[in-house]
Structure formats: C-alpha cells, structure tokens
C-alpha cells in the first residue's frame, strides 16, 4: 500500500491549507449565488439583511451573511411547494428522495434531495469510510431499519461505491442480525454507539462471543456522540475487539466530519465539501483558536435541492490544537461533538453537559452500558437522579463503587447526584437515538 491508498481523494485531502481556503471561498460564492437565484426563501433572507451575492469578496465577508436555523426550516415548510416550502431550489419534479429529521427538538424538518444530491451524500460518506479502512474486500452489515431517517442510508451507498459487499439488515431483529453477521462472516458494520453496545450484549446472551465468534474488523458509529467519548469508545472496542470510528452528520447538513485510522482524538472536517465556523456562544464572534468551545455554523457547498448555508446547528465543538499524522490537511475538531447548545443546561447554577456524565459512568467497568439522568425540582432546589445498572456480582463492593462514582461525577461536573442502582438490563435499550437525559423542570414549569 502506498501513501495515496489511505485517501479517497489525495488531491483534496492533502491540499495545502491556503489553497483549501481559496477553494472554500470559491465554493461558498457558488452556493450563495445558487440559493439567491433559485430559492425565494434565501433571496428574501439576504435582501432583508441588505446582502447581495456580489458583496462577498473576501473570506471575512462570509460572517456578514445571515445564518439559518432549524426554526426557520420548520417555518418555511408552511409555505408552498408542499412539503418543503420555498427554500426548495429546484423544481419539485427534480426531487427524488425524501428524508426527515427525528423531531426530537420539535416538528420534523423535511429534507429534499435530487439525484445529484443523493450522489453527493454517498460521496461524502465515501471519504469517511475510505479513511476508516473500508475496502472492496469488506462485507459490510447495516443493522438499520431503512426508513424516513437518513441515518445509514448514505453509508450503505458509499460502501457500495467503494466496492464493499453490502448486507442490508433492515427488518431483522437484533438476534437475527447477529446470526446473519456470523453466517456471512461480515467484517464491518455501522450503527449508533448505543446499538453497537446492545448488539454485543445480546450476542453474549445468545452465547456468541463478539470477538471470538464474529469477524468484525471495524465499526462506524453515528447519531450520538458516544464513539468520541473515550470511555464509551473503549467499552465498544473491548466488547468487539476491533476499532470503532466516529463520524458526524445531520439530515439538514450532510456527513461533514470523520475519524481516520490514525485516531489522534479528534475528527477531520471535510473542508473541501463543507465550511465549518465556530461561534462563541456568549459573544457571537467566530472563534479560530483551538480549545475554545462554541456553536457550529456550517455550510454544505454542493447540496443544491435544499441548500444549507450558514446553518446554526447548535452542536458544540472546538478546534483541535494538534494535526493528524495521516497527512490530511483538513482541520480537526477535538473530541467530536461535545454537546448541543440547547442540551447544555444549568442545574443548581452549574452548566451541565450530559456527555460528561456518560464519560464518567462508562469509565466504570462494574456498571452496565445503560444509564439515565432525570433532572427535576425538589421544592426550590434542582435534583439530579442518575439511574445506573450494576451486576449482582458486585453487590459486596456496591457502596465502595458508588462512593467512587460520586467522587468522579463531582470532579467532572461539579454536581452531586442521587444514584439509583438497577439490575443489569433493566433500563431502556435504544436502536436509534437514545434519550437518556430528561429534564422534567421544563414540564413542571409549564403547568
């Protein structure tokens, strides 16, 4: 294998940073022009703010362009053409694929893609899978209920594009999926971190050792931040005996970031297909220095049916202060998505990110894979209940384990917790996005 064999496109992935910036400006201008001339929504948004595409002369001008957000995408759906609204930038007859967001934060957003957009989705995923070592010798299992959610659809088509043999595990239940992976000696699969752990747990219950009895060499995760949380990543890798890779994407955006096989602790941004900006949550200023958390504002350069330009994703990320030994010049974000701006909430006056709790819980080998956090009000005081699973094997050391857990939680989050210990397997299991963090204070306040 020569050096070029690690890249899907070595020309773009190793382009010197200065030239990458030139490419980004050129592509940004192109998508803004396209949206302005083809989408009534974008034309109005820009005209109302006094912006014309010709005003975009240098990189810094990008920051003057109005942002978009999920609320806008929902509102626009109330206008024709049904069901997307006038953000649509192509004739409705050119739309070939419908997807929608999960609706966890409100009304689902409908996503229109043309045939070209769909090729683009799988092109973005090809960068991801190739960087993670997928080749035409892989037999890839997709344990995903192929449906209205984009999830692993594009992963499926990208794996085909790379030349892998793809096994769609759509309507099979978890046990049948494990048996099929074993029967066909599948070498890789893609799922949410939660479901990857659930698959290992179920396999073990069936008497199948995921490491000895299956043939998995790599796993690609998406949909939740788990594969970038060191304790969760380790738990998955220990359960499956192989490397687990993270990738980040979203229905309205595309698949914009990926871990490569070097795994320096962060993910590459696909700078040739996306522009990622990080905005300070307090000041609204764009942050370029590494290590500073902020909200991601993202543009997909080449998605034409329903353009995504300066979209405020609410994902909290930070630039890495390191580069990757793989040689890619694409910038890196440190530790993946740290949280969501609307998930980070004040509890007892302290900012709490649910991912910090996961990092602690999953670092305790004595505890099960699942947990749940419930924040509520006890009188005027916030209360945090953490439900965990523990095997009866550890009953004798239970108090010691709980004391250590409390210490670590306080150290990481500056907060105290009520802890409820449940038997292994008693908390809910999720196949798609997990809902482990429940803030009942909003509901209580709304009565």
């Amino acid at each position: 294998m020569n050096n070029n064999d690690i890249y899907w496109n070595h020309i773009l992935e190793t382009l010197p940073y200065e030239r990458l910036r030139q490419l980004q400006l050129k592509k940004f201008r192109r998508i803004v022009d396209w949206a302005y001339n083809n989408s009534p929504f974008y034309k109005k948004l820009y005209r109302d703010s006094g912006f014309e595409p010709g005003d975009l002369k240098k990189f810094e001008d990008i920051q003057k362009i109005p942002k978009t957000d999920k609320g806008m995408l929902r509102d626009v759906q109330k206008r024709p053409p049904f069901p997307y609204g006038d953000i649509l930038s192509v004739p409705i007859e050119d739309v070939t694929t419908f997807r929608q967001t999960s609706g966890t934060t409100g009304t689902p957003v409908y996503q229109a893609d043309t045939w070209q957009d769909w090729e683009w989705w799988s092109e973005c995923w090809s960068y991801i899978l190739y960087a993670q070592g997928y080749r035409d010798t892989d037999r890839v299992f997709i344990p995903f209920g192929y449906n209205i959610f984009v999830a692993f659809w594009a992963g499926h088509y990208a794996a085909e594009k790379i030349g892998c043999e793809v096994v769609p595990g759509g309507v099979l239940n978890t046990e049948a999926r494990i048996l099929k992976m074993q029967e066909l000696k599948c070498t890789a699969f893609m799922a949410t971190p939660t479901y990857v752990l659930a698959l290992a747990e179920t396999a073990t219950k069936m008497g199948i050792d995921p490491i000895k009895d299956l043939f998995i060499r790599r796993i690609t995760c998406a949909g939740e931040p788990g594969a970038s949380i060191p304790a969760t990543k380790k738990r998955i890798e220990d359960a499956w005996g192989c490397k687990v890779y993270d990738h980040i994407g979203a229905t309205e955006i595309g698949a914009w970031s990926y871990e490569c096989t070097s795994q320096p602790g962060g993910l590459h941004v696909n700078d040739a297909f996306f522009l990622v900006e990080i905005e300070d949550i307090e000041t609204g200023k764009i942050v370029d220095e590494p290590g500073k958390n902020g909200k991601m504002i993202i543009t997909a350069f080449d998605r034409l049916g329903k353009p995504c330009i300066r979209f405020d994703s609410k994902d909290v990320i930070r630039w890495a202060d390191y580069t990757c030994e793989c040689g890619r010049t694409f910038r890196m974000i440190d530790g993946g998505v740290i949280g969501r701006a609307d998930d980070i909430t004040k509890v007892k006056g302290v900012l709490l990110a649910p991912t910090a709790i996961e990092e602690v819980v999953r670092s305790f080998p004595e505890l099960g894979d699942e947990y749940e956090v419930v924040v509520s009000k006890a009188g005027d005081v916030d209360d945090i209940l953490l439900k965990i699973e523990m095997s009866s094997w550890h009953a004798e050391k239970k108090d010691l384990i709980l004391a250590r857990l409390q210490d670590q939680l306080r150290l990481k989050t500056n907060l105290g917790y009520r802890i409820e210990v449940r038997p292994l397997g008693s908390l809910p299991r999720y196949q798609v996005k997990a809902h482990r963090f429940k803030d009942l204070r909003k509901k209580e306040g709304s009565h």
């Binding site: 050096n3 070029n4 496109n9 070595h10 020309i11 773009l12 190793t14 382009l15 010197p16 030239r19 030139q22 490419l23 050129k26 592509k27 043309t114 045939w115 070209q116 769909w118 090729e119 683009w120 092109e123 040739a272 297909f273 080449d302």
Partner: protein, 61 residues
Amino acid sequence: MNDRFDVKELSRTIGDLRANAERLLKAGGEMEAIKRNVTKILANIRMLELNISDVADITNS
C-alpha cells in the same frame, strides 16, 4: 504527492465527459430511458467535478 496527477488534464477530460453526456441528452432526451440514465450519469460527472475540476484552477498564489 499531488504532482503525480495532471489535475488540469483530468479536468479537461471530465469536461469532455460532460459535453458528451449533454450532447446525448439533447439528442435523445425525449426518450425516457436516455433522459433518466443520462441524468444519473451527469450526477456522477458532477462528483468528478467536485473531486477534481473544482481544484484545477486554484493556484499556489
């Protein structure tokens, strides 16, 4: 590493592909079997343009 490929030449070849596909669409586009298959071919050509042609005119300056 990028010198192993003549990006400008690759870009010209991709341009020829697009011109041929568009010629085919113009000549036979009233036939559904041609129209729909050429549309798919053009989508794939677009991916080549994103991968190669877009960077062909980005200079070192």
